[in-house]
């Protein structure tokens, strides 16, 4: 119990990932859904770093750098789309985003 192994980190990562999945599937506010996706990306990052530590191999950490870069790109474009959509329909409810054009 007092010795922390990689399995502990994997369980933490799995739990955080599940919280993210619940957020994406249950909430309707698209900003919250974006944030839940960020939670999932962080869960994956924890997993990668933990295994990099276990294998004494830095490649896991290299991947985390790329994941953070992609997350930044995703947030910028996603929020840009969200703002453009909000300007036209005045809503951030994902159920009302059911048309491809307006």
């Amino acid at each position: 119990m007092l010795e922390i192994t990689t399995a502990h980190y994997t369980i933490l990562s799995a739990a955080l990932f599940s919280i993210g999945v619940i957020g994406v599937l249950v909430r309707r506010n698209i900003i919250i859904i974006f944030m839940a996706i960020e939670l999932m990306l962080n869960a994956v990052n924890i997993n990668l770093v933990a295994h990099a530590e276990q294998l004494q191999n830095l490649i896991g950490q290299v991947f985390v750098v790329f994941v953070i870069a992609v997350a930044a790109a995703e947030a910028a474009v996603g929020l840009g789309i969200l703002l453009a959509f909000y300007r036209n329909k005045e809503t951030v409810n994902i159920d009302e985003m059911n048309v491809m054009r307006w």
């Binding site: 502990h8 309707r28 506010n29 997350a71």
Partner: protein
């Protein structure tokens, strides 16, 4: 002992704040919990001896991405809460069940793989000509992973241009 204490404290904080992010009714509060969550994840990276990633996590996630979220939340001045509108065809219960299924599947994978010998496919990194976490990470990024690194920078450029075009008023 110290690692266990740090791990359990941070785990409870990370999971608790994660739940708070997806359950809080006010979006601004969600964003604040998300920042605190990311700070705890950064602390966890320090425990895992990835201090460069910890700092980058704070600098990029907490200092950059989440500020963007906060900015958008303040721009999107909601007259009505999005959760008030319910699509009758929406199946929130099914969503909950499906997320439960994901949790079970992840748990099964963890339990199944726990106790097995780690496959020895991945060898420890070869000896670096430099010392220290940042130096070694930089060495990898600028030698073996140079092309992905450059592709990531192009991706960021594309995202930046795309975001500016999307945010312009006349679309």
């Amino acid at each position: 002992m110290a690692e266990a204490l740090a791990f359990y404290t941070l785990s409870i904080l990370i999971l608790g704040l994660g739940v708070a992010v997806i359950t809080t009714p006010k979006t601004v509060h969600s964003v604040v919990f998300l920042v605190l969550n990311f700070l705890c994840v950064a602390a966890l990276y320090v425990v895992l001896q990835a201090e460069f990633l910890a700092v980058i996590q704070i600098l990029v996630y907490a200092g950059g991405i989440v500020v963007l979220y906060l900015f958008v939340v303040m721009l999107v001045n909601l007259k009505r809460q999005p959760e008030e509108h319910q699509d009758p065809r929406r199946l929130a219960k099914v969503g909950l069940v499906l997320s439960g299924a994901v949790l079970v599947e992840l748990a099964a994978i963890v339990v199944y793989s726990y106790g097995r010998e780690p496959s020895s496919v991945s060898a420890p990194s070869p000896a670096f000509p430099v010392q220290g976490n940042i130096e070694e990470l930089g060495w990898l990024l600028y030698t073996d992973y140079l092309i992905p690194f450059e592709v990531a920078s192009v991706l960021l450029l594309v995202a930046m241009v795309g975001a500016i075009i999307l945010a312009r008023r006349e679309l």
